[in-house]
Amino acid sequence: MANYSIEDEDDFDFEYEGYLEEYASIQSIVREALPFELIAVVGGIISGILLSGMTEEIEMIPGLLVLVPGIMGLRGNISSSLGSRLTSAIHMGLIDGVDWKNKELQNNIVGSMVLTVIISFLLGVLSHSVSVVLGLQSAGLLKLTFISVTAGFISGILLAILSAYLAVGTFRLGLDPDNIVTPAIATVGDILSMMTIFFVARLVLYI
């Protein structure tokens, strides 16, 4: 870091640059972000272990593997943004406890579930049709859509409840929910969505 001399203090540009260097030093960003990312890596590996235990289902339900990135993406996109909106709502004073009758909380959860159902339905339909167009095997429109919507719905509702408790709980403990809720939901979301895919795939094989 630069050593400021007295003459340099007049130089606004120099100070401004110095401030930016400080604000955005490589070391400070890495130190802040790396621990979270390493925890996320462990979460990702746990969901990978679950995935590797599903080889039987993957082979017996053609198209199941096509759904996996989409269902995991739902959790990343919908549940994580639900978590970050709930933390904003707490900061704004719109939500002050886990009260399921609170309209703001209700609307946020219902909104995220409506998005989950629409997108997971689209995911099932698209996965099947693309497989058919490419001449690949598919377990069928009904099965793939059922797996996608059911797995999306179950993991979505569980994560919505978890986000509400996490956001309120961390806030009450005096922690900043922004730093905790989104990474926690992303990590738990990966594991939970893989577990629900596994569960629903087993269910489909039994039917």
Binding site: L20, L38, D190
Partner: protein, 184 residues
């Protein structure tokens, strides 16, 4: 009238989610094309979710930092700004350490499970994905952040979901290239 409405949330979220859903199906089809190799080498299958994640996570962090810098009104020019350069380098460092960390852990898990995959196989897979992250995910993040700011869109709504999808894509494409190069 509540601050958040179901209709408002759905309307705002839907367009970008539909786009990411299309990318996810593309990612899924590429993954499905690798099915036989993945079933044969469970260690690589274990790496799939984590390799898809790292690019999106670190790219998302980069995007969030750039969007904060833009909101604060820092002049963010691609070549000159320390904000862009340092955030980019930091994302690259976090991505590299996380990738190697993932390779090592999965290698140990594989040994513990009584299989044996050479470490360099996992390492090559990781490095191909990482290289794609550098050239596709991070560069696109910078361009998308600057563009979405210029057109007055909130990067949180656009850049982060798109970057996560691109991270998934570079994950499965990187694995695909590694499979071809290693002729597994």
């Amino acid at each position: 009238m509540t601050y958040y409405t179901v209709k408002g949330l759905v309307k705002r979220g839907l367009p970008i989610l539909i786009l990411t859903c299309f990318i996810a199906v593309l990612v899924g089809q590429i993954l499905s094309a690798e099915e036989q190799i993945l079933v044969k080498y469970p260690a690589i299958l274990i790496m799939v979710p984590v390799l898809m994640k790292i690019g999106g996570d670190t790219g998302g962090m980069l995007g969030a930092r750039l969007s904060s810098a833009l909101h604060l009104g820092f002049s963010v020019s691609l070549r000159k700004s320390p904000v862009v350069r340092n955030s980019f380098i930091a994302a690259a460092i976090v991505g590299l350490i996380s990738t190697i960390f993932a390779c090592v852990i999965v290698w140990f898990i594989d040994i513990y499970s009584g299989r044996y995959i050479p470490f360099y196989t996992l390492f090559v897979v990781g490095i191909f994905v990482y290289t794609l992250n550098l050239f596709i995910v991070y560069l696109t993040t910078v361009v998308l952040s600057l563009a979405s700011h210029k057109y007055g869109l909130d990067p949180d709504d656009t850049v982060i979901p798109l970057v996560a999808s691109l991270g998934d894509l570079s994950g499965v494409v990187g694995i695909f290239i590694a499979i071809v190069v290693l002729s597994l």
